[in-house]
Symmetry: C2
Subunit: 192 residues, 2 copies
């Protein structure tokens, strides 16, 4: 029975991920999640609480998985940005999910605030040892790098051209991200 409930909880989270990525919090329906998960609607409330709490669980799981498969690397930001690009390209629903979060539930969780602080601290050390250009503050550098890595999922380009690329297009976008992050973050001659 314990194993059954673990499997049910996992199916609910998976179905909730798909539902929230498609419709956001306001648009999501617990009925549809229950049906897609083959679960009882009441059990969703028992396991996860209300719709917002279920959303928080889905976000937390997605952020944890992201941090695990794409660890932050202040010492090699171009490589990190390429890995973020790959992670988002592998499942474009991820960017939709975190975008709904920003619109509908904008307050940072404690875990998000802690992750942000860890990244800017690592960037400060990388600026100190000369690996990262120190013209701008650590929050500015982090913002620019993330914006470049996510660019194809957050700008009008996605609207105008879609993200259903062939391999050649994907490689070109990836190369552009990595090159841009290199140019933005590499110490300029004379900085060291």
């Amino acid at each position: 029975m314990a194993r059954d409930s673990q499997a049910t909880k996992a199916r609910i989270l998976q179905a909730a991920f798909a539902e929230f990525a498609e419709y956001g919090i306001a648009g999501a329906r617990i009925d549809r999640i229950a049906e897609a998960a083959g679960a009882n609607k009441r059990m969703i409330y028992v396991y996860y609480g209300n719709k917002e709490q279920l959303f928080d669980q889905v976000i937390q799981q997605a952020l944890d998985a992201g941090a695990e498969s794409v660890p932050f690397d202040a010492e090699d930001l171009p490589r990190y940005a390429g890995a973020v690009f790959d992670h988002l390209t592998a499942d474009p629903r991820l960017m939709r999910l975190v975008t709904w979060k920003r619109l509908e539930r904008p307050a940072a969780t404690e875990l998000e605030a802690a992750a942000y602080a860890r990244k800017t601290e690592a960037l400060a050390a990388a600026q100190e040892n000369g690996r990262v250009d120190a013209t701008h503050g650590t929050g500015d550098i982090l913002t620019l790098v993330l914006a470049l890595a996510q660019a194809w999922f957050t700008t009008a380009t996605a609207t105008a051209t879609g993200t259903d690329w062939d391999e050649e297009q994907r490689d070109a976008h990836r190369a552009a991200v990595i090159d841009a992050v290199t140019r933005v973050t590499a110490p300029r001659d004379g900085d060291r």
Copy 2:
């Protein structure tokens, strides 16, 4: 009477802008828009059709206003990016509005597709005459520039730190955007 109906229509669009920016399409309520505009709910349907059509009108008005106050300038992308940053900073609801559009109504309108084509054509000319680096395609350049100009409104930084900056913070973010766009788009030595 004609003047009255023009004023009512303008008030409806203004109220709809605020409602959609806050709640998106699924979350928006025509009742609230009618109340905020001091207008009759039935008149909103008469003037603008259904909720999606009203949203399209609000988006179109916002994009027209943006194109008019921040004309695209392929010959001076850093200045253009700074102007986009200023435009978004002046009213952060704008970025929320276009983000809801991307999530809830992603298909590009004909006008959006035409605006995208005009921009990439201007970039091709700027690459041709050596003003813009030609390492990457015009779609890639446009995407990276827009992503940098919007960075503070589309990344986790906004979640972690908010966008309620003092003047000094705003100037630092603006300088970082302009510098980053310069680095990403300036022709490299030997390119010409």
